[in-house]
Symmetry: none
Subunit: 250 residues, 2 copies
């Protein structure tokens, strides 16, 4: 991820520059280049960077796109309009995978145009692909900072920044209840259901106990939780047979 | 996509509300609900909505999360912190697939907390899953509007047939229990726990009722299942007060 540049061409709102900086830092990107920004530095940029001032501080301001892409290999440009059919257009997710891969060979760059006008045709000339961000046909025009966020997010994912999150999150350090513990819970529950004379009152033909088992299986109980539920069942039983009364089948 | 609510809980910056509205409209979402916004309406919200004023204009301001989620089925909450290990946590992409799927059964909701503090624990209580947005460990805190953008983007993709992701089998045609039905279940359960004098016997400091709520939220109960559990609770109560005995507080 260190070899990917984010290049904003003629951004007009300094707030968007700050928002882009934060979006980048959130997703592990550092290299921000600004081609002829209308206003920069600017308090609004700093305010919106909010925690990502380091990215702003190291941002490079240049006078031309050629300077910004100097030394780069693969270059991708975001565009709302699919005006030029001679470009290869990649969906942002596929583009991100490609950019990450290319950045292992040489510095890769992603270009973003000005808020209102996007990238002029001549600025697209150095690009290898256009990036398309899927959006509603009713109002497809994304805010510049948002576009940077979505690209950065897909780059972060493509770079494997989220591998750990693909694992199912059972982050609790308490182990899941074993099948035997679950069986003992169900036996205990069946006992209580019998004691309180709880039978199927639903229309459905499925067995009540099966339904309850399934919903508790879905909950993926850990050992503490099984203990809590068994404690509750025991409390129900004890209250039905108050202390002192020893007989179970009264 | 028409049956998905975006709910911002106590947003403090009106600019973020506007940004969220635009992000939503860009991705085909329309229902914005604001719980106790600090300032709204506000010129900054309108400015940032920029083209999505219709979403802002139809945004509903309510006084509590319960009002915002009224009538909803599946509820997902965004959170930066993985503080609560008893929730099921889904990556935003998997969560989006799930939310779109669930929205075909009943209105689904996505909750976003305040900028600085996120969602307080009590506001998480009605959620079925937490949404995790992958981000850099160095600076993982996303701007609120950006978080809405990423979730909306993944929802748009998930709804657009782009669903390559694993769809959990929720084959049931029975709607998920509404938040109100779940609240009534918890109230009923608390009543029974009180009646059988069941108190915290675990070492952990977490509140017993919170633990039970969370494990039941994870189970994502449908309406039949809530009825089954409430029937069981009623049976427990009736057995404690045998037929003929009318007094409840013996």
């Amino acid at each position: 991820m260190s070899d990917i540049r984010i290049i904003l061409v003629e951004p007009s709102h300094p707030g968007n520059i700050g928002a882009a900086a934060r979006a980048m830092m959130n997703m592990g990107l550092e290299q921000l280049l600004l081609v002829r920004p209308k206003q920069f530095p600017h308090p609004e940029a700093t305010a919106r960077a909010s925690g990502a001032e380091s990215v702003l501080a190291s941002a490079t301001v240049v006078g031309s796109l050629a300077e910004a892409t100097h030394g780069c290999g693969f270059i991708a440009a975001t565009t709302a309009r699919e005006r030029d059919q001679n470009f290869r257009v990649l969906d942002v997710r596929a583009a991100a995978a490609r950019i990450v891969e290319e950045s292992r060979r040489a510095t890769a760059a992603v270009l973003f145009g000005a808020e209102r006008t996007g990238l002029p045709n001549e600025e697209l000339q150095s690009s290898h692909v256009l990036i398309r961000i899927p959006a509603s046909a009713v109002y497809p025009s994304l805010n510049l900072g948002m576009a940077v966020q979505l690209v950065a997010y897909e780059l972060f994912r493509a770079a494997g920044g989220d591998v750990t999150t693909q694992l199912p999150q059972t982050s609790s350090s308490v182990p899941l209840a074993t099948p035997e513990e679950m069986e003992r819970l169900y036996t205990h529950l069946a006992q209580v259901m019998h004691e309180v004379d709880f039978r199927d009152r639903t229309q459905s033909g499925t067995h009540l106990m099966d339904r309850i088992r399934r919903l508790l299986q879905r909950a993926e109980l850990d050992q503490n939780e099984v203990n809590i539920l068994r404690g509750l069942l025991t409390a129900v039983q004890q209250r039905r047979h108050p202390a002192g009364s020893q007989q179970r089948n009264a």
